[in-house]
Assembly symmetry: C2
Homo-oligomer: 392 residues x 2
């Protein structure tokens, strides 16, 4: 397999953009990624477009990517629309990576786009169903309650086992709100205190409002290419050292199987020939703030139960040894489902290039991990995990 | 890039299966493909699932493939959900091909599945929107009328230019209805006469009911692998000699650009190192019967205007030099949108292996073409075309 490099990234801001259709969000991200690389639409030989909710929320069920891309002047090339819930964008990146790694193409575009604000929150929530037949029809429950059950069970178990307090659960949200306050593309830029987070409205015990990511519109894109093409573009290439996708389980307490987030990260480390200690910066999937504490363990950044300590000691803050979610993460930067993975990738590319502005990590990072996931279903093996390692 | 082989195919019958959910259709096809190959679910290292309408029609917007696959015992592997309108299934096959060609996996599964019968035809039709924002909101038209305009303009122009008669337009439907009558998996098995077709209800002038494919449920799957793995499976491997995907235009009369169906086929011929004269059997996208006549030209099977003659002289019938749509094609075999491409592939694999039963082509074919397309939009470059060449 050939080496694959990212030579351009771009993003639309995350937030509420009622006047912008899905393709306008996508176009902004695509144009920015091409400009970043010094590339033109005709340089794109193949395109992969990730989106999760466009069918139910915009009515555009078919050929979402082709419709969006032709607005950006990218026509006549292979276009593949992919969906993998909250991991749709890194699934699109993996497709672009496969094209270049295989030799099928030399230059490929990956796009993630999502429009969640459609003026009807109930419709947005219903579209997030994990197994619609089972959950909506048979169990009469919404995705949010289903989505909340797994982490809730886990978080409650951790609180009992490790003595984590509500203040501990709030720590990632506080840390990430500071990062997000420095990110001009972030949806929520207010700096929060432990008190703000703990005493915000209870959504589902023990998760409060500021511990949860919110509905968001957004888009991001990355241009990838082979080694021999990389020099033609204007930016320093960032190598994709591993690009791993898996389906699997979200492990609950008492389940003896290996957690799939952990297995996916492990596979990525092996493919890149590194270990978690080699990571200089991480973007991870904190759809709810305490998930960051659990993911620290699963990614091998700490031993079980030590998550809050990593933040207390400043290890994962912007100035720490391995900053996590410098963008602000899903709770502050925003979580437009099918765009999130490429928003993570864009942030890491900016950090690896030293272009992250006021939130730039001082000790210039060389190795970065994007951890993205989605699609929890109850007691099933249908969750999606990706782990992408980038190096300069 | 590594050579890629198909070692197993399977399909669920096409038709109206109100009692079966999407995942039951998919499971039947997956189980049949694995059994065909002598493979077990654990042999599948990565899976690609094509579906177009499941979000709007079943409410299952996210992780359709993971939900279906875990019902077939395929868990813990990379799963990529793809969508490309009526070409979704061959887009899934291309993903599986990329995995094996690149070396990312040795054994990959491609699935196409569609459930169109949901008890509300208007909802099914609305889900087929090509550019929902433009067509549904701004122009107030449905996909079917949009879809009909392009071929209708083309067909009317051909009737004027070449003197094609309504009987000429009916010929592919008559030929394919005979083939479909021999296919136990076909949706429509009635043998039609020219008179039946010409005098069936007018849908949109000049297209009559029996010239149009109908709403359908169905699923198909193919197991692909690398050369070194092929011998482990039970069936004679069929090589994927070319696997081409493009977006582009459906060329209307007066448009001087190259038609994208033609360009896609040409690219496939070049990649396989063959020409149209080398084809022994073809499955092509006759969503409406006269499309077969136009595709003969675009695939290089005849000169402009000669389509009806190919059928008159028996060249494309089951006993002819290059049988086209031995399965019955989209009008007789059926057109469950996101499954159609892999139904074509399954038919060609059976033909290449000599396993097609009463519709087996007598002169055992060695080279086959599957031509699949979808997603027309008005005056835009958003149509999807695939061309897949198989060889034994």
């Amino acid at each position: 397999m050939r080496d694959v490099f990212i030579v351009g990234v771009g993003a639309h801001a995350t937030g509420r953009f009622m006047e912008k259709p899905l393709k306008a969000l996508a176009h902004a991200a695509i144009a920015a990624a091409l400009e970043d690389a010094g590339a033109a639409p005709r340089d794109v030989q193949t395109a992969w477009v990730g989106n999760s909710l466009g069918g139910l929320l915009t009515g555009q069920e078919g050929i979402r990517g082709e419709v969006a891309l032709q607005h950006s002047g990218i026509v006549g090339v292979p276009v593949t629309n992919v969906e993998n819930a909250c991991a749709s964008a890194t699934t699109a990146l993996r497709g672009a990576w496969l094209e270049v790694a295989s030799g099928a193409a030399d230059v490929a575009l990956a796009v993630g786009m999502e429009k969640m604000f459609v003026g009807d929150t109930a419709r947005t929530i219903a579209a997030l169903a994990a197994d619609s037949e089972l959950e909506l029809s048979e169990m009469g429950m919404q995705f949010t309650s289903g989505y909340a059950i797994h982490p809730k069970i886990n978080i409650k178990a951790r609180m009992r086992e490790y003595g984590w307090t509500p203040a501990d659960l709030a720590k990632p949200a506080v840390k990430n709100s500071f990062n997000g306050s420095l990110n001009p593309l972030a949806q929520h830029r207010k700096r929060l205190t432990i008190d703000d987070v703990v005493h915000s409205r209870m959504v589902v015990d023990p998760l409060t409002l500021y511990m949860c990511s919110s509905i968001s519109d957004g888009a991001a894109a990355a241009l990838v290419c082979s080694a021999d093409r990389a020099a033609r573009f204007s930016k320093k290439p960032v190598r994709i050292a591993a690009c791993v996708l898996r389906s699997g389980i979200y492990r609950l307490p008492g389940d003896t199987r290996v957690d799939s987030a952990q297995a996916t990260a492990q596979e990525a480390y092996e493919k890149a020939g590194i270990g978690p200690d080699d990571l200089d910066v991480v973007e991870l999937h904190d759809a709810m703030a305490p998930a960051e504490l659990m993911l620290y363990e699963r990614l091998g950044l700490c031993r079980p139960g030590e998550g809050p300590r990593l933040i207390d000691e400043g290890i994962t803050t912007l100035t720490g040894r391995v900053p996590v979610n410098p963008s602000g993460g899903l709770c502050s930067r925003g979580h437009p489902v099918g765009a999130t993975g490429l928003l993570q990738i864009a942030e890491l590319v900016w950090q690896l290039r030293g272009e992250a502005g006021p939130r730039q990590i001082a000790r210039r990072p060389k190795t970065a991990l994007a951890q993205n996931q989605g699609g929890l279903t109850l007691g099933q093996d249908s969750a999606v995990y990706t782990a992408t390692i980038l190096q300069v």
